[in-house]
Structure formats: C-alpha cells, structure tokens
Symmetry: C2
Subunit: 317 residues, 2 copies
C-alpha cells in the first residue's frame, strides 16, 4: 500500500469529520501589547488539547479490520488522551506507551478514558522501539503522535475552523511545536498564512531540521524544560518535507517566558494553559514573532500539573 | 419619569445589543457524575465576568445628556469592570465605589479600564450612601449592580444565547447569586426554564427574601466567605418581585464546596473560575440542585486572586 500523503484536501475532509463530533473551539481576542490579536483556545477541547483532532481523524478512518486489531500510540500525554478518547468513542482497544515520568494528571486521564498504559523509562528506552515490540507481539495499528499522515491532516483542521471564525485567512498562525504534526497540518490547512513554530530552548528539533534541511536529534544532555509536551527526539521526514520552505524560521522560548505566558493566560484570558501549550503565546508576548490583528496564537494544551501550576501562578516558580 | 419594568422583550432587545458587540460565550459540555450537562463560560467575557452584559445594555441605553453626565457604580469588582469597560467604549466618565478590601486584581483591572475608583470601608460605611453623596456632589447616573432594570435585562441576555446554542430551552439554569440581578434576568430571559440560585452560606439574602416574601438583610456578624462577589447587604424589591414565585428555593454552598468546584473547573474544563463564579458549579457537584442533560450551570466570573487560587489548586486551602 502506498504511503498516504497529507494534502489540503485531506485537511478539509478531516475538518468535516472533526466538526461532526466536536464544536469549534473559541477564537478569543487577546491584547498583545497594543495589538488585538487572537488565541485559538484548544485547551477547551474535551481532552484539554488539540490532539483530539488528529486522533479522531486517524481512528475514524481505520478499516473495520484495523479497528478490530486495536491501536498503539506513543505519547507524553496529550496525544495519549486524544487516542484514548477517540478509541473509547469508536469501541477500539487502545494501548498507549507513555514515559514513566509523564505528568500524573495525563497518566490518570489516559487510564480514565479506558486505554491500557505501558510505561517506558526515558531516556534509556526508545519509545518507538517499545511500541514496535508491542505491535509485533499483539498486533494493532500504530498511531504516531506527529508523523502519521492522518494525524497531520487532523491537526490541520484547526486552520479550517480559524478561517471560518475569522472570516478570512489569518496573516500568520503561531503554533507550539513538539514533533511538528500541528505545524505541518496548519501549513496545509492555511496555505495563505505564515506558519511560525515555537519550541522550548534546547528542544527545537523541528526548527533546527528546517534550517539544516535534514533531521536533527535531541542532544543526549539537552537541557531540562517545563514543556513536557514538546520534547521530541526528532521530527519525521514527512513533517520536514511539509514544513521546509514553507514555515518561518523556528523560534525558541525559555521556561521563564513560558511561565509568564501561563500567568498572562490566567489573568487576561481565564484559561488554564500547560507549559507546552503556552509556548506560542510566550513567543508573542516576548516579541519573538510578529503579531498583527490577523494573527492567531494557538493555545494547544491545558493539562497542567496542579502543584506546578500553583507555583507558577503564585509567582514562586 | 415612570420606573422601567424589566421584561422578556427587554431581555431580547438587550441580547441584540450585546450580540452586536460581544460574541456569545461558549456553552461547554461538562460531566456532573454520570450526566452530561452544560456550563456557560462567562469567565471568557473580555472582563472575565457576565457583568459586562448588564453594564453594556444600561450604558448604551443612556441618553446623550445622561452620557455627558457620567455614571457612578458601586461594586466589589466585576460590575465595576463591566461598567468601566462599557464606559471606556462609549466615551463616558465612570466613577466606581469599591470596598477597600476588594481583591487587588479587581481594583487594578477597573483602574486599568480608565475608571476613577473611590474606596469605602465595609462594613462601617454604607456603599449606597457613598454613591448617593458622590452623585449629589458631581452628578451622574447611578448604575446599580443588580437592582437596575436595564442591568437585569442585560444579564438576562445570557439566557437568549443559551437557548440559541442549546437549540432549545434549558430545563434549568443554575446561577451564582449575589444581589439577584443575574437570576432575575435569567427568569425573564428563559421563561420556560427552572431558575436555581446558589449563594454562599450565611449570605443567602436572595434565597431568604424569596422564602420570606420580604427583604432580608445580612447579619452584622455574617460568617466570612471566600465568595467576595456574592456578599450583598440585601436584594432589592425589584429583584424580589421578579423572583418570588418564579425561582426555585435558594441553595447555599460552603467554602470547601466552592474550592472543590474551582479545582474541578481547573482539571476538567481548563477554566479559571473565581470563588463567587464557582458557586453554581459547587451546588451541582455537591448534589444540592437537580442536574439533567438540558441543565446549564453558569460560570459567572474568573477574576481570581492568584495567591488564593494557587492555594486552592495546590490543595493547601
């Protein structure tokens, strides 16, 4: 079977499938300095993150035989919840490989949605190998968190919603970026818009790959980041192919900038945003990306660890 | 001039005026035990609270002469921000009487919107007397926080949005209740729905008034409550007239139940809700009001004090 190539048409089809089951998340005005721009509040998805889009498009596109075999996914938490949510809704068995140090709230939510969780130790174990071993043993379809063509199209459905809500194409979309699934999907879904991707310092594997024109792997001693959702080992060739020559040069943000953005969202938007979900807003607030009145900033996830969030909001972290 | 009587037609007109300037706040699904009900996310209003509705309807209905004279309001914080927001937008001078111990975030936001803030000491000073003195000295139109007919109609506009979003009349609306402006407006705006009002323990001046058929004043030694937005001295005759025989018996919630609801909103909805804004959700979660799949729970405000919110989320308060 030929590999599926994600397309703008595919994103439009994904948006229809998503719209049939999920209401659009609000596009809310936000003041970035003197400019009134927009945030796309993906934290208001039922699982608290945009990942539900790609998971739904992938799982609802499986054949009957594939559904019967179950799905296997690898995720630090939000893709896990997206796949678990879609699998529960479709009656598909889901096994999710998650790091042993994933936030407790994400582990609990994934299990609560009925998925079986298999833990691995990072960085000693390669999570893709753990998943491959599982599939070899028990069968099932791999639903990759960012390199899967349907997942990319599904994430891009946010761009279709944005254009409808704004009444025009946004000038630019600023996206938090882990492996590059959302960024690639937005690039297809918003062909007339600039796409800016924002990664944590030291974990800009997508920005570096775009600059180098080749995959770049995380350094063994990569710095710690509070953005647990944005720590890929590397992007995938498919994502790189879709973003190279299309996305703007990547931007990185510090933990302090991310925490400032979480506090801003608390005070100005009354939205709970997890660190990885606040990266794009952090870049906008720090002046690291251009912002005009047709700019949309993605708030990608809101599954924050309560103790860490409390420390951020109280200003003690 | 005859006193204006709030009506359902007035609420419908208010809803049109509000819709012209504010997009509808999202109606989001919420799981209350095994039932999927709805929350109306008024925390996503530009000022973080529903009060913007009544303030906009009142101020935009002022005559040119009244506008030129400015407005005076009395508020612990959210009505203050609503009036300041509407006044700024309409170019009207606003003076707001606020308690000296109002949350710092609400004082700061009100001033940031350009209003002049006059502080009074509670309980020693009567805030309505402070406002009357100001108006005697400098003129201006009083915009009462809950007893004003336009304010009541404006708050009721939420019910018109809810019916449109739900595609039918809700079975019941559960509302946080301070002075009874929102509850009275919802009663007019949702004539086919049961209206439940939820107040803090010891501050159920509206529920007691409905039961007694007469105004009831707060006890001089009323207990402390974390719901700073829900501490009226008493409701007004107009609110009582609109609610008596129409609203369900009032319900009260404890501080612990309110904090549990704030944590629930953090984890399940990714919404920041202040204590007074979480009272209705608290009653629903505590099983103190009936909840079915056509029930709408109002999340009325999200201007939470950061230190207090952090303590609640971390579980240390």
């Amino acid at each position: 079977m030929a590999e599926r190539i994600p397309t703008t048409q595919g994103v439009i089809a994904a948006a229809e499938a998503v719209a049939a089951i999920l209401p659009p998340t609000p596009l809310l005005p936000v003041a970035i300095g003197d400019v009134q721009a927009w945030v796309k509040a993906e934290v208001l998805q039922p699982i608290g993150a945009f990942k539900i889009r790609g998971a739904w498009w992938r799982l609802s596109s499986l054949t009957a035989a594939e559904r019967a075999g179950g799905v296997v996914a690898v995720s630090s938490g939000n893709h896990a919840q997206g796949v678990a949510w879609a699998a529960k809704r479709l009656g598909i068995r889901a096994t999710i490989v998650m790091p042993h140090d994933a936030p407790a709230v994400k582990l609990a939510n994934t299990r609560m949605l009925g998925a079986e969780v298999v833990l691995y130790r990072r960085p000693q174990e390669d999570r893709d190998e753990v998943a491959a071993r599982l599939i070899a043993e028990q069968g099932g379809t791999l639903v990759h968190a960012f390199g899967d063509p349907w997942v990319i199209e599904g994430q891009g459905s946010a761009a279709i919603e944005i254009a409808a809500q704004l009444g025009r194409a946004p000038s630019r979309i600023i996206a938090c970026c882990g492996g590059g699934g959302l960024a690639a999907g937005l690039a297809l879904g918003a062909p007339g818009s600039a796409i800016h991707l924002v990664e944590p310092e030291g974990w800009d594997m997508v920005g570096q790959a775009i600059a180098a024109g080749a995959l770049v792997h995380a350094a063994p001693q990569a710095p710690k980041t509070i953005c647990d959702a944005l720590q890929p080992n590397a992007t995938k060739p498919l994502n790189l192919a879709l973003l190279k020559g299309r996305a703007e040069p990547g931007v990185t943000v510090t933990d302090a900038e991310v925490r400032a953005a979480q506090r801003f969202a608390f005070h100005q938007l009354r939205l709970v945003v997890e660190p990885g979900g606040a990266a794009a807003l952090a870049a906008a607030l720090a002046g690291k990306v251009p912002v005009d009145e047709d700019t949309v900033i993605m708030l990608t996830g809101g599954n924050a660890d309560p103790a860490d969030y409390a420390a951020t909001i109280a200003g003690s972290a």
